[in-house]
């Protein structure tokens, strides 16, 4: 790098920006990849069942798999709309 480059240099090098962005996206993709393949399908089928009884969207159903020690915890979170709660 020349002295002129050094004096006019921006604060952060683009390579370090690249590295940070990659660290974030790779960590995110690893988290998704580690789960079993059936989670999205499970989510869709749950939607089919639940929507027989209440009006919910795919976004209202959250399926999460977490690790706690040796234990895998499958967490289901279904938010029901206000009106359906009265029906039930």
């Amino acid at each position: 790098m020349s002295l002129l480059d050094y004096l006019t240099r921006k604060k952060k090098s683009s390579a370090s920006v690249a590295k940070e962005r990659l660290q974030i996206i790779l960590a995110h993709e690893h988290a998704n990849a580690s789960g079993p393949d059936y989670l999205p399908a499970l989510q869709r089928e749950l939607l089919d069942v639940v929507s027989k009884y209440a009006k919910v969207d795919l976004d209202d159903i959250k399926v999460n798999l977490e690790m706690e020690g040796d234990c895998e915890i499958l967490e289901l979170n279904i938010s029901l709309p206000e009106s359906s709660r009265k029906l039930a």
């Binding site: 002295l3 002129l4 390579a15 590295k19 962005r21 993709e29």
Partner: protein
């Protein structure tokens, strides 16, 4: 014991075919009987890089379909009698590959070759999966650039999950990183990911760094694998890769920028 090595990357244009050609040539130059297979059905190019494009008669798919024998399809290299090329088919039929068909060909090659180098197509479609499925070791070719690093990471995931070794629960594929088109000057000025950065991100054993060099294009222009250009930095770097692969301790080269004089330091190159 013969070994199957896949040269893969996910992303296109990073130097898989260049690496396959030089790596296979290097193994043969060291006296090992080697075959290099082009898995890029429909986009055959290894023949051009190896300089044998006018001698292709039968191809990989012909052998799988029983239209030709392996002996008829294998092209013997002009300069190295231990080196053979199995060209890809130019068919547009993407179903040309079956796992059984590819396995039969690889098993037959294992009987007479020390090393079977599989040049993978880009992407994660069938051709790429077939190229890595039977591998014992993998050379993951990566450019110091965001999309290439991400795609390499993806390919590492596939190597660990979709290969024969993974499916059978055998010892996992040995993964080696080859960084190509590396420019120490640009790394020094903070505009290119460094070897340490890529190592941190991908976390696999570094087998070689190939510096950006004009001689790679010159070599492909004339159909001579760049490893045969012993004057060029990339040729020397590939030679190091082959020696490391064969178990020799070779220190990494071409990692640092050339030292500049005072004039250049002040005014730039």
């Amino acid at each position: 014991m013969s070994k199957v090595i896949v040269v893969t990357s996910g992303k296109g244009g990073v130097g898989k075919t260049t690496t396959s050609a030089s790596f296979a040539t290097g193994l043969a130059m060291k006296g090992h009987k080697t075959v290099v297979i082009d898995f890029d059905v429909g986009l055959r190019n290894l023949d051009l890089i190896m300089g044998c494009e006018r001698r292709v008669v039968y191809d990989f798919v012909n052998v799988i379909n029983g239209e030709a024998t392996l002996k008829q399809a294998l092209i013997k290299d002009k300069t190295h009698d231990k080196l053979f090329i199995l060209p890809a088919s130019q068919t547009r039929d993407k179903d040309a590959f079956t796992k059984e068909g590819v396995e039969k060909v690889i098993d037959e090659l294992r009987e007479s070759f020390d090393y079977i180098v599989c040049d993978s197509p880009a992407g994660i479609e069938k051709g790429a999966i077939m190229a890595l499925y039977f591998a014992d070791e993998a050379l993951v070719v990566t450019n110091p650039e965001v999309s290439s690093v991400r795609d390499s990471d993806r390919i590492l995931g596939i190597l660990a999950a979709k290969s024969k070794r993974a499916e059978e629960g055998a010892e996992p594929i040995k993964e080696h990183l080859i960084v190509t088109r590396y420019s120490p000057e640009r790394v020094e000025s903070g505009e290119m990911l460094s070897i340490e950065d890529i190592n941190d991100l991908l976390g696999i054993n570094l087998m070689g760094v190939i510096p950006e060099s004009e001689s790679v294009l010159q070599a492909s222009n004339s159909g001579i694998p760049v490893i045969r250009d012993s004057q060029s930095s990339s040729g020397q770097a590939y030679d190091d890769v082959v020696m490391r692969f064969l178990g020799e301790e070779v220190p990494m080269r071409f990692l640092d920028a050339e030292k500049k004089g005072l004039f250049k330091r002040i005014f730039g190159a």
